[in-house]
Every structure is written in C-alpha cells, then in structure tokens.
C-alpha cells in the first residue's frame, strides 16, 4: 500500500513508523547495528536497556539532523560534509544526554549509562539519519522515522536476547556457542523479516 505523505497527517506518521520498525527493520533487513547487537544481546534486560537508549537517541538525532541538514547544510551548500556533521551531532547529543541523565536520575544513569558510549558507534543511528534525508519527510515524519527505526532495532535485539537466554541453557557444541549460534539465530530471523517487505511501502 502506498500513500501520499502530505495527506492525513496522523495516518502518514503511523505508516512511517510501521514501515521503519517492521518492513524496513534496520537490523534484520539492512543489517546495520549488528556489532553492538552481537555483544549485548546475551540477556533480555541488557537488550531492552540498550534498545531503549538507541530508540531515544535515534529519534532525537533524526530530527536534529533533519534541521541541521535543512537549515544549515543546504543553505551553506556543504551537503557533501553531511556524514561528518551527522557524526558530530550524534556524538554531541549522546554526550549531553549522558551528562543530563547523570544529574537528573542516578537510577536511570545506572541503568542506561553503560550503554551510552556504545551508542555513538552504532551504525544504525547514523544510517537512520542518512536514510532520512533521502526521503521526502518533514520534521515530524523524520522524528517518527527515527523512533520507528530505533523501535525496530529494540524489538529485534530483545527477541534475539530472549532466544539467546534459552539457547544458553541448551547443549550447544562448544565451538558454536556464543557468536556462532547467535549468527544462525539472526539469519533465521532475518529470513522471517523478509516476509514483512512489501507490506507497507513509502
């Protein structure tokens, strides 16, 4: 199903979200953000923690980068610098978030603090900002696109974390334990997510 992005604002936001989270799942169809996923997905708790942090950062940086791109890079005619600028925006945002959380809530900092450095190098976040500018989104849609991408990543890593917890109780051949079996799990899941493609298309 296709839609006109400028009619029916709520519906369009919903479709952008669903498409980013499921049809175009950034981890399972585009394979971005795999490395932190392999490292952290051993437990569901840790997966959800990192997933939430990623969702928050992806959504906020998508809209920040949207403004930077629209009102800074295009008027100054330095679009070719976008990669470097986006990296700096994301890094600075993560840095400020870390400082803010540290001051506001000790508990939240304990829960999310260890994940924040991992986020700066998560290519799913940079990827989302780069995809966002190739699409005809407005600021709200950019934010929802980031939210959807991050949420899709959260769903994927949580599912993988759950499966890994179960698998760790089973008798897996030693060489296959850990990354090996995880790769197989992700492979099968990505085959499943291929089925989503074509459901919603922007």
């Amino acid at each position: 199903m296709t839609l006109d992005l400028h009619s029916a604002p709520f519906l369009s936001l919903l479709l952008v979200f669903v498409s980013a989270a499921f049809t175009d799942n950034i981890l399972l169809t585009r394979f971005l953000g795999l490395c932190p996923c392999m490292g952290v997905s051993k437990k569901v708790d840790a997966s959800v923690g990192l997933g939430l942090a990623v969702t928050f950062v992806t959504a906020c940086t998508a809209v920040l980068n949207y403004w930077v791109y629209r009102y800074l890079l295009i008027p100054l005619d330095i679009v070719y610098l976008r990669l470097i600028v986006f990296i700096v925006v994301i890094a600075a945002f993560v840095q400020f978030t870390e400082m803010a959380i540290e001051r506001v809530s000790e508990r939240l900092y304990q829960a999310l603090g260890i994940f924040l450095p991992l986020i700066t190098v998560n290519c799913a976040i940079l990827g989302t900002s780069l995809f966002m500018i190739t699409r005809p989104y407005n600021a709200a849609q950019a934010f929802v696109f980031g939210l959807g991408s991050g949420f899709g990543w959260l769903v994927a890593i949580t599912l993988i974390g759950g499966i890994r917890e179960k698998i760790d109780e089973k008798n897996v051949p030693p060489g296959l334990r850990g990354p090996g079996i995880t790769l197989i799990v992700i492979g099968i899941m990505s085959l499943a997510f291929v089925v989503f493609s074509g459901m919603v298309k922007i």
């Binding site: 394979f31 971005l32 795999l34 490395c35 392999m38 490292g39 070719y80 990669l83 470097i84 990296i87 700096v88 890094a91 840095q95 450095p117 700066t120 190098v121 290519c123 940079l126 990827g127 780069l130 051949p173 030693p174 060489g175 296959l176 334990r177 850990g178 990354p179 090996g180 079996i181 790769l183 197989i184 992700i186 492979g187 099968i188 990505s190 085959l191 291929v194």
Partner: protein
C-alpha cells in the same frame, strides 16, 4: 621487532581474528561475500583504511580526551575515507563506479573502529600500523573463505567465470546469494575455527 611483528600478524589472522573471534565487521561481511570479486575490493579497502586510521589514532593517542575518543576515531576514519573517495572520483571515475558503493560500508565497518579503540589507542605508531594490516588481513581471510563457498553455490561461478560442468551439479541456491546465507556461512566458519584453534581454552563469548 620482527618477532613482535610476527606476533601481531599471528594474532590478527588467527588468535584474535576480528570476525570469528572479536565478532566485528559483520555487516559488511554479509553484504559483499556473495561474489568473490566484490569481496576482494572490500577487503582491499578495509586493510588500507584500518592501517591508516590505526596509524593516525596512535599518533594522536596522547591528545585524545578519554570521554570523546570514540567520536574522534569515527571522525578521523570518516574523513579519510571521504577524502580518498573524492580523489578517486575526480581522478578516475571509471574505477570509482566500481568502488563507490563500498565507501559507506567501509566507514561503518566496526573493525576499523574496534582496532583504533583496542590497540592504536595504547600503542606506538609502528605496531599500530602493523596491527591494522594484520586485522584487515584476518578479516579478508574469513571473507574470502565465505565468498569461495557462496559464489559457487549461489551463482555457479567463480570470479564471474562459470565453473566446469556446472549444469551437472549446480542448482540455483538463492539463500546463498541473500544476506541470510552469509549468516549461516559465518556461523559455520566461526564454529570450525573456534573448535580448531581453541579446543583447549574455553571462552564464554
């Protein structure tokens, strides 16, 4: 010095291989390993970039603040890749048509990042350069092995040339062409390599 260099290479290629041991750089390993020629291009780019970025990070290691070291590393890597990309695009657009699509994959390759973080941040420039080369080659080794399986099975060719008597044995095996095929191959390679190279030491991943 030479013994030291040998240790670095041994670690990068086998003991500490970035792919099956450190599980880094998986994204790009998935995308390009269904054709051997593409794999070779990608490997060349990664070896080159890892060595260069390791060298730079190592030279700057006493000046990079701890808090922002990852950002600094990503910035350095991205700038290098973009400069080289622009130069190739200006000087030889025909070559650029072939290697252009790899640029994004190389920038987001976490091996480059991981080595800058784990090795170049604490070591002098010369060993860092060697470590970059070694890990790049270790990455290449695994990718080439995977491509050597995927291309014959997925396309019935090798480097684009049809294999002998392929109508007898070859059946289009789509999953080997698709990225999930790489997951399974990667898992098998990891399995074999881990069972073989560290049968004695058991490591929780």
């Amino acid at each position: 010095m030479s013994a030291n260099a040998r240790d670095i290479f041994k670690a990068g290629l086998i003991g500490d291989n970035p792919i099956y041991r450190q599980v880094l750089g998986i994204c790009s390993a998935l995308a390009v390993t269904n054709l051997l020629a593409n794999t070779l291009f990608m490997c060349f780019g990664v070896v080159f970039t890892t060595a260069l970025s390791n060298l730079t990070v190592s030279l700057l290691r006493r000046h990079i603040p701890k808090r922002v070291r990852m950002i600094a590393q990503v910035l350095i890597i991205a700038s290098y890749v973009m400069i080289v990309d622009t130069l190739i695009r200006a000087l030889n657009p025909d070559i650029h048509r072939f290697i252009g699509p790899y640029v994004g994959l190389i920038i987001t390759n976490c091996i480059i990042m991981g080595r800058a973080e784990a090795f170049a941040g604490q070591n002098p420039p010369w060993p860092s350069l060697l470590d970059g080369l070694a890990c790049g080659l270790g990455y290449s080794l695994v990718l080439i092995v995977i491509a050597l399986v995927r291309e014959p099975m997925g396309f019935g060719t090798l480097l684009g040339y049809p294999l002998p008597a392929r109508e007898l044995w070859w059946h289009s095996w789509t999953i080997m062409v698709m990225p999930p095929g790489a997951f399974f191959m990667l898992a098998i390679v990891t399995w074999i390599a881990r069972s073989r190279f560290d049968a004695q030491k058991e490591t929780p991943a």
